[in-house]
């Protein structure tokens, strides 16, 4: 324990003197905030949808069939009530909800009121656009049911009613920044000692590999928390991102994710021989993380292979977690799946590291 403390103290001292790295701890979050402040929206297909059909008429079923036929949504769930539907939205199981009220048939005769309601998860950037597309969608005309010249749906954006991109981007951006800095800093910090010959000395001391690794990681856990706080604070102050869930849950999720990215950095360090290689490896992880995690493009709209790869990127699960907590106000109990996936990732990564890290130079 005291050895871990000694290594951590040394690491912090060195970090404080390494102005470039120290600058990056603050600089990267700032820069990324500005860069990603403006995101791009894309069309998507195959969004998972939940349906509450209170009308239960042939007409309401026909409407759902027409929506599915358009290919934009895939009905995943038939919920019993609007409350159930909201719960599924909040846990992230579905990203769009269709509510067909009991008075669906009556509304058909009332030209002022829309026939049904779309509930949209506004925490993801592009889904809201899809809803707009649905409203304008030319559903096949069904004589006696509805006509295309009248609005079928009314759209309600949940969790981000003003539809601001920053609100969608900022929480997930925490994950992107942590992926970048945690992976890179740890990989570089360990490879640097090997490159400079310090490791050769450390190996001949009584410090065990586990002590060496933990001692090196401890300072970065704190750096990760500082960065998390920094981005969240900037998000709230500059972009007025609402924090709907509990801060406790948010920091719990962040810690899980920091642990996952640190072990990822450790894996990179066991492969890289130079600091440059360590740096390149962290980029190699970062790019697919940004593209496949659901940070920019909705996860649901991706081809199966991409979604499969994304399961192995910790950022995917963190984006799901953090959007759930910060924007949709979901509790940890509702987000068990991504939590377990993150834990599984960290455990698997740690196993790989222990197998690969030997206390010798061979």
């Amino acid at each position: 324990m005291s050895r871990i403390g000694a290594i951590a103290t040394k690491e912090i001292r060195q970090l404080r003197r390494d102005r470039l790295t120290f600058g990056m701890i603050v600089g990267i979050p700032l820069l990324q905030m500005l860069l990603f402040g403006y995101a791009i929206n894309f069309d998507v297909r195959g969004l998972s949808a939940g349906v509450v059909d209170e009308a239960r008429t042939s007409m309401s079923r026909a409407l759902i069939a027409d929506m599915e036929a358009s290919g934009v949504v895939r009905v995943r769930e038939h919920a019993a009530s609007i409350a159930d539907l909201r719960r599924s939205l909040r846990s992230g199981e579905v990203s769009i909800g269709v509510y067909i009220p009991a008075d669906f048939e009556r509304r058909r005769l009332d030209n002022d009121r829309p026939l049904a309601q779309l509930l949209v998860d506004g925490s993801e950037p592009t889904i809201e656009n899809i809803a707009r597309a649905f409203v304008a969608m030319p559903l096949p005309e069904r004589p006696g049911m509805y006509r295309t010249d009248r609005q079928v749906f009314e759209v309600r954006t949940e969790y981000n009613p003003e539809k601001r991109t920053a609100v969608q981007i900022v929480p997930a951006l925490i994950g992107v920044i942590l992926t970048m800095t945690m992976t890179m800093f740890t990989a570089v910090a360990i490879v640097r000692e090997r490159e400079r010959g310090n490791l050769e000395l450390l190996i001949t001391t009584p410090a065990s590999p586990l002590e060496l690794m933990l001692g090196k990681l401890v300072p970065y856990v704190f750096i990760g928390l500082i960065q998390t706080t920094l981005v969240l604070l900037l998000g709230v102050l500059l972009f007025h991102v609402p924090i709907n869930g509990s801060l406790w849950a948010f920091y719990f999720a962040s810690l899980l994710f920091i642990a996952a990215t640190l072990t990822l950095g450790l894996i990179a360090s066991t492969f890289a021989e130079t600091q440059m290689q360590a740096f390149q490896m962290s980029i190699f992880v970062l790019l697919p993380s940004i593209l496949l995690s659901g940070f920019v493009f909705p996860f649901d709209g991706m081809p199966r292979v991409a979604r499969w790869i994304a399961q192995f990127l910790p950022l995917t699960h963190f984006v799901e977690l953090v959007r759930g907590i910060v924007l949709r106000g979901a509790g940890l109990a509702e987000l068990q799946v991504p939590i377990y996936k993150l834990l599984a990732f960290t455990a698997a990564a740690l196993t790989v590291v222990t197998l690969r890290f030997h206390k010798s130079l061979d």
Partner: protein, 318 residues
């Protein structure tokens, strides 16, 4: 340390071998290093000195053979050895961005020295190695000699029984080298065993025991005196005004194994089995019309080194 019951050699290696792919860096080296002595590894670059030292402290796994260090099988029991072993790498391997005090404090904590004890020990080492006024200086800004003293202070902080020094004086001026060796003898007096690798003859000559390594093989072993007495060559010194001419006269002669110039003198190593070596040389010089004084002399360590490494190279080339 000196009061501790000690038995057997500090280091005992049998057929120690290490291959890197096709290259055999260390080739069946066997040696015994007695306790409380300075033992030297002498050899050119790439002779396997560092690789052997790294195997002895458990940094590298031997491809073949075995070694027992302070009674522990290495690498199997390398962890039990850690507290008894001090290792100074060839390259400065402390942290250049930490101060002298911080470096020593870190090493002290890693070796489990408790607070007061650690502070006392650090103070002791700083005084011993003249680093007191450098206490708060970053290691990276110090001279080669200062860095090396710091490295020695760090390696001896936990009072190891065995000190492994891999070319400790390669980046150090002659005065610092002399001081450094004084410190080594002080340590030996207190019972420490020291294994040091070098390519300096004067350093090798100071060792109690010496192993000459060449391309991974141990080609000669003994005390410097023994090695010089038992050299497998006749050493002939030629003093001539026309040194170049004399040298030319010896060129291409099979029985002349090696010639080295020292000012206006030549040192020629002749095959041991040659009868009347001086006479043969005189005859050669006469044939080439070179005047000179020819005398058989006692071998220097350099002669031993040349005889042990170069002769062998010739045989291999042939």
């Amino acid at each position: 340390m000196s009061g501790q019951a000690q038995s057997g050699p500090a280091i005992s290696a049998r057929n120690l071998t290490r291959r890197f792919g096709k290259l055999t860096a260390v080739d069946h080296v066997s040696l015994d290093i007695p306790r409380a002595t300075i033992y030297g590894f002498l050899g050119p670059n790439g002779s396997g000195k560092s690789t052997t030292i790294r195997m002895l402290c458990g940094l590298l796994r031997p491809s073949e053979g075995e070694c027992v260090v302070l009674g522990h099988q290495v690498p199997r029991e390398a962890e039990q050895l850690r507290l008894k072993l001090g290792y100074m790498t060839q390259r400065f391997s402390l942290w250049e961005d930490l101060t002298v005090q911080e470096n020593l404090d870190f090493i002290g904590r890693i070796f489990g020295l408790a607070g007061d004890m650690r502070a006392a020990r650090i103070g002791e080492r700083l005084a011993q190695y003249h680093l007191e006024d450098r206490r708060d200086q970053r290691a990276g800004t110090m001279s080669g000699g200062q860095k090396q003293r710091l490295a020695l202070a760090a390696a001896t902080l936990h009072e190891p029984e065995l000190l492994l020094l891999d070319e400790p004086t390669s980046a150090v001026d002659p005065q610092s080298r002399r001081d450094f060796w004084e410190s080594l003898f002080e340590l030996v007096d207190r019972g420490t065993t020291i294994l040091v690798s070098t390519h300096y003859m004067d350093e090798a000559e100071r060792c109690h025991g010496l192993a000459i390594l060449d391309r991974g093989r141990l080609v000669a072993e003994g005390s410097p005196r023994q090695l010089m007495d038992s050299i497998d060559a006749a050493v002939i010194e030629i003093e001539a005004d026309d040194v170049r001419g004399a040298r030319h006269a010896l060129d291409g002669q099979d029985f002349v194994k090696s010639v080295a110039q020292l000012g206006n003198r030549l040192h020629a190593l002749l095959a041991q089995d040659r009868s009347d070596p001086e006479g043969s040389i005189r005859k050669l010089l006469e044939q080439h019309g070179v005047q000179g004084k020819v005398e058989r002399v006692h071998a220097s360590l350099e002669d031993v080194f040349v005889a042990a490494t170069r002769f062998d190279a010739d045989e291999k080339a042939a």
